[in-house]
């Protein structure tokens, strides 16, 4: 499993990824959101992703939950590997990357999200990162994958240890690690962390979240088509701190408000929470369930609860990071708060093959959901590797779930 060092030029990598997108097409199940904010988000995402291929751009590989605010203060462009795996899942060429993982001794029981990311590296489609940053939670498999990638690119990997418990002591422990991380990034890359920029980014992050909260509140009492889905996409991308993200959140709020003022009061269908990994609209499961129920995605519910403290941003970033790294205690709290507020009837847990974290936490969350009076469905699913999914088997479970709802 080797990459030819001669090929690790961003020009070649850019050409590789463009060839991929040129030769692929979206799956037939895709449907487009009519919201302008959705188009804005796509443009921002594309711009942010493709600028990482500029030779002079400093980039870092990170996971979905990593606080981008810290990297923006250095002028580093993050490459959110899990987010991009979700993007690739929408194309019909995803199999090529999964096969590359398989053919290089990556077990078929490893989460496809990791395998797809490694496949993209092996296909030399990602821009060579300047460094890689991993965290022990939510996914220890991700840490191992990052380690492999760091060897392939011959770049340094910086790691942080995320505590499981959340209290003042653990938050301070993580805050200290972020301070060390900032120091190490600066020394490693010879760049400066700009405090004044960081403070502006924190304010920008909060501005975006304020619009995000207000949009979520509009969804509490009325069905607003497509809005919750956009909230989920924004949460997945995680570009908090960019002015463009604030613009997207503001536009989404304005559009949601407009819809809110035109649609009748009340909720049209039973509401269910969708918990776990899934890819945008290309997922057959989402499409099938949406015929009968309104889907409330879990990620926005997590993201809706934390503003950053402008007086101690690293402390609040640390707190947010522990909570967002699939902290089960926090998830239990969120489920308990959400059920009465959003009038939820059921919950679907999507557990991909090979994701021990989701499978493990589902055991506990399932009990919480039942205690809250929710009907529960657990689906073994894989949103990337279609060979692992037999829709008819899943359909049978979904039909039974809809019957008991």
């Amino acid at each position: 499993m080797l990459l030819n060092k001669e090929d690790l030029k961003k020009e070649i990598q850019y050409s590789n990824i463009i060839k991929h997108f040129d030769n692929s097409s979206h799956l037939e199940t895709d449907r487009k959101s009519p919201l302008k904010s959705s188009k804005m988000l796509s443009i921002v995402n594309s711009y942010e992703f493709f600028k990482t291929y500029s030779e002079d751009k400093i980039t870092a590989f990170v996971g979905e939950q990593f606080p981008h605010e810290i990297l923006y203060a250095f002028g580093i462009s993050p490459v959110n590997l899990e987010g991009i795996a979700g993007l690739i899942a929408r194309s019909d060429k995803v199999d090529e990357f999964l096969k590359l993982g398989d053919q290089n001794n990556f077990s078929r029981d490893i989460c496809s999200s990791l395998k797809c990311s490694l496949g993209l590296v092996l296909a030399n489609c990602y821009p060579t990162p300047n460094l890689l940053i991993s965290a022990s939670h939510p996914c220890d498999g991700f840490v191992k994958s990052m380690f492999i990638m760091s060897k392939l690119y011959d770049k340094e990997i910086l790691s942080i240890d995320v505590p499981v418990e959340i209290n003042d002591k653990t938050v301070i422990y993580l805050k200290k690690q972020f301070e060390d991380l900032i120091d190490r990034i600066g020394k490693n890359l010879g760049i400066t962390f700009r405090n004044e920029v960081f403070n502006k980014i924190i304010q920008e992050s909060n501005n975006a979240r304020n619009y995000y909260f207000k949009t979520l509140q509009l969804c509490e009492t009325k069905t607003l088509p497509d809005v919750f889905h956009e909230l989920m996409k924004i949460a997945m991308v995680g570009t908090w701190g960019l002015k463009e993200t604030t613009s997207v959140c503001k536009k989404l709020y304005e559009e949601a408000l407009e819809i809110y003022n035109t649609v009748p009061d009340g909720i049209k269908k039973n509401r269910i929470i969708m918990h776990g990994q899934l890819s945008h609209y290309s997922d057959d499961i989402v499409k099938y369930l949406e015929n009968s129920v309104e889907i409330i995605y879990f990620a926005p519910l997590l993201n809706a609860n934390e503003l950053l403290d402008v007086n101690d941003p690293l402390y609040s970033i640390a707190k947010r990071f522990i909570n967002f790294s699939w902290n089960t205690e926090y998830m239990i709290k969120v489920i308990k708060q959400t059920v009465p507020k959003l009038n939820i009837s059921g919950i679907v847990f999507l557990c991909p093959w090979g994701c021990r974290n989701l499978l493990g936490m589902t055991t506990i969350l399932r009990d919480t959901a039942r205690d809250c009076g929710l009907k529960v469905l657990v689906i073994d699913n894989d949103y990337l590797d279609k060979e692992k999914v037999a829709f008819n088997h899943i359909k049978n479970r979904m039909d039974a779930f809809l019957e008991i709802l």
């Binding site: 399932r366 657990v378 008819n392 088997h393 049978n396 479970r397 039974a400 008991i404």
Partner: protein, 270 residues
Amino acid sequence: MKTVGIDIGSLSTKSAMIDDERGVLAYDVVLTGGDNRNSAEKTFQNLLNKTGLKKDDIDFVLTTGYGRENVPFSNANVTEITCHAKGMHYLNPSVRTLLDIGGQDSKAIQIDEDGNVVDFLMNDKCAAGSGRFLEIIARALSVDLKDLGRLSLEADEIAKISNMCSVFAETEVVSLVAIGTPVPSIVKGVHTAIVERSISMMKTVGLIEPIGMSGGVALNKGIVQCLRENLKMDVNITDYSQVVGAIGAASIGMQKCKKNKSLEVVSNVI
């Protein structure tokens, strides 16, 4: 009023006819084969032959199972999870936790006092723990499927069999035969593997007594005995194990039919 339930499963298609006053009138089982529409028609015709009735005498046909949406003469369809719960409730209303082991899947279902599904869990990833698994094992041991229960009850010891994969389990069984392990011990080992997997599912949905079992595998006395031993609880079996889903379908059909009739009455009065 007479209704028919047809349960089109992966291995067999089951049907049952019930009467609102006389209960179960008849039932039938045929192999599904490659054409589930044809098997549904065949078993429906068998029911009519057994009861001497005509199609027009049937007020409602409700289909269930994997082929439920593929039957042209069906009035409605419902999943087999709901149907098994209703079927067990129809036959034994006291049951609160039901284990159904069919041809390709097994389900643990928690049922409320009205026969509604409270929670359920199905096997996933692999057919190990299902009727097909037992078929493969019977073939590997060169014994008749229906003799597995008897053989299991003769076992002095339990051979250790993995429950991860039906194909690998077949290899294990062949290896055990090769080293002289008594066939009854192997069969009991296979039953134990299935039961252990099933109990995990039942405990996840919540093991509330009384316990019941349905599906074709409930006809296997060795499995039922093994389940009782491992649970240390009684397990209720009905005389209609294989057709509980079909009876449930007929029962739901009866409810729908009565509801439709009462709506007709209201409509006529108005």
